[in-house]
Symmetry: C2
Subunit: 413 residues, 2 copies
């Protein structure tokens, strides 16, 4: 891929309105562009990463038997009246009327719609359980949108809903999905904690939040370090911001960004909305629901918060926009530049994702921009290229190797 | 994939409100569910196909140097006032206010937003050309939504915009994109025509439509059969619905579904919205734009219209929800059923997309539903399974082979 065609509108100066490093990078690096407060365009660099995050989520959820669908953003008032949320939700719900004066809202979440989709079908225990998810643009009219993608008014979310005949089945799904979330967070190379949480607007009995640790997080996590832990997360039965009980080891405080939230909803929606089924014993019962969210666009920022040092970016391999960045010192038309194109083609044929900085800019400008793009490997085609020697730099280890052209083409990145 | 988990809520009876066969199949086969007129949920079966259509589009556009981004659905009134379309667009534009009483619309198309995104950046000829696209949910408040996904109020579109410094460059992009569209339509196994067209609301000087031939199409295409043609399409310089000029061979009439539309916009948006650049000669000029749409959700219906016979479906391989449908006659827990699961696992490990009908239904019910799902191959695990013999049916040729279990597992589908 030629960098000039990718549309990366970098800013020369540091954006003044951005307070946190991920937000600064997203603006300065040409990842996103604000249209109005809390509403952004995801430019090609950001959108490449988002698609990778989405596919990791899909893979982990499909693996445990979830199915993907796509519900509409437009939701009728009727449905929200059924659940009782039309009045309860308040000003965060974006409302509109169609040409026939019928009232709608733009979905901030989809419990009502999914319940209405499933209730005409799941009339017997034979049709259950079900686990249905979507990755979709959501709308929430935040009073004070801020921190870029952290708290937006239009954002991308994965929302998943389970439908069970009994509590044990819900518990099993909850556990399976919780484990899938752990796999997802680990594949995204995040440091995070799972904490008990209040259920907020969505309701339900039991819920946990996945918190990415980060100085600029909006929530305070109180936790202890008494247990063993095997992953990037530690699990403690503590509430966000709640005082810590005794006897749990050293008490620690951290700030967190909520990127996932899992709920045991129970019958909060199925009862008022008549989502019932006939059980084995011929009795009619409400379906037991769970719901499970991941903030996809917010994850982009959370990963970036943990994967930059002084605004220099190094994306985890699993979501990096490209694996390899080719930086020719010479300009278009030169032998060095032609060599760069040849290497690009070879590596792309080998199925690597490669970006070639084809702009007629100085190496200094190219390197500065490369620090914002954050690929793991850099191939610098400089003065020694005429002798057949190129530089390969691993940005994780900072190791620089001088390699021949054939070595570069055949290297295992 | 187990069919019971996929959520395919088939209907027992033929839906009364559906007039055309693709719409009937989508409803009866559990592909889509209407929320309100013109607003649908894409259920898992439909959404699998839509994702495949999207990826074919992505591959062909990326190949010619286009870059994908994602713009917001929420668009400010200001932008639409700049282009002059806020008043011109009329009731099809869905409008709303945020909590601060600021006016927005839900994007039916994104010329305004993309122009505003590019104009702060493309200030020099050095930054051009650019070709940017997105695949996104659009909103259009149709007076009379109908035919399911054919004319909806919320639908999925691919919209692409090019930015050139001169007319020749626009012409080149137009040609490249037109060829990419031909590749896309061919990969989707569509019979279609490319016709000259009126430009409608979007404006511009020159435009062509990609019309999928179909008895239920809303447009009449008048064309002649005088030329050679090498693909599934024939190109004639005729307007939709216009009388045919003389001397062009036999005149034919056909009905068509518009699935693609390509425009040379020129400066229609760049002039009023001040999208200008400094050219080589230091003069300031408006950027020359093109725009290019594909109706993604409508394509699903168009493909289905051409790929069903008496409501029995056979999806083209490139977009089929699954390659292979495994149908065990015996119920869960039996040896036959276990064998079905074993074959499913083997084929999935071989990277085939497989669906296994694990429901405790009769073979008759399973076969009827399989006719709606429309996979190319069926493996029927019936009475002879205990002797190690299974049936493989190719749904395109109707050929049935009796094969051993090992043959089935190692077959090249």
């Amino acid at each position: 891929m030629k960098q000039s065609l990718l549309f990366i509108p970098t800013l020369r100066d540091m954006p003044k309105d951005a307070e946190i490093s991920s937000h600064k990078i997203l603006l300065k690096g040409g990842y996103i562009k604000q249209q109005v407060a809390g509403v952004y365009t995801y430019l090609p660099l950001a959108y490449r990463i988002i698609k990778k995050i989405e596919n990791i989520i899909r893979e982990e959820l499909d693996k445990i038997g979830c199915s993907e669908l796509l519900m509409p953003a437009l939701q009728t008032k009727d449905l929200w009246v059924e659940s009782g949320r039309w009045d309860a939700y308040g000003k965060e719900l974006m409302r509109l009327k169609d040409r026939h004066d019928r009232e709608f809202c733009l979905g901030p979440t989809h419990e009502e719609v999914i319940t209405s989709v499933v209730r005409d079908y799941a009339k017997s225990y034979k049709k259950l359980p079900l686990a249905l998810y979507q990755i979709q643009t959501k709308f929430r009219d935040e009073f004070r949108p801020r921190f870029g993608l952290m708290r937006g008014r239009e954002f991308i979310m994965k929302d998943l809903y389970t439908f069970s005949t009994n509590q044990e089945d819900l518990d099993q799904w909850y556990e399976k999905i919780r484990n899938a979330y752990i796999c997802i967070m680990d594949r995204l190379h995040l440091k995070y904690r799972i904490v008990n949480a209040a259920s907020g607007q969505i309701g339900g009995k039991s819920s946990e939040e996945f918190m990415v640790l980060c100085d600029i997080g909006e929530d305070t996590i109180v936790y202890s370090d008494s247990s063993d832990f095997a992953s990037n997360y530690e699990l403690y039965p503590l509430e966000v911001g709640a005082p810590s009980p005794d006897g749990m080891g050293t008490i620690k405080h951290a700030k967190g960004i909520e990127v996932g939230h899992i709920f045991k909803l129970g019958t909060k929606y199925s009862e008022p909305m008549s989502l019932t089924f006939i059980d084995v014993d011929n009795s009619k019962k409400p379906v037991i629901m769970g719901c499970y969210g991941i903030g996809v666009s917010r994850l982009l920022m959370a990963i970036l918060e943990q994967h930059n040092v002084d605004l220099k970016v190094l994306w985890p391999k699993s979501v990096a926009p490209f694996a390899i960045h080719i930086l020719p010192v010479d300009k278009q038309g030169t032998d060095g530049f032609k060599l760069a194109c040849e290497i690009e083609e070879t590596l792309e044929n080998r199925k690597y994702e490669v970006i070639l900085d084809d702009r007629n800019e100085s190496l200094g400008v190219k390197l500065n921009d490369a620090d914002l793009i954050g690929c793991m490997y850099r191939i610098i085609i400089g003065r020694k290229a005429k002798d057949g020697i190129l530089e390969l730099k691993n940005m994780e280890t900072n190791e620089i190797q001088e390699l021949t052209i054939d070595d570069i083409k055949n290297y295992q990145y």
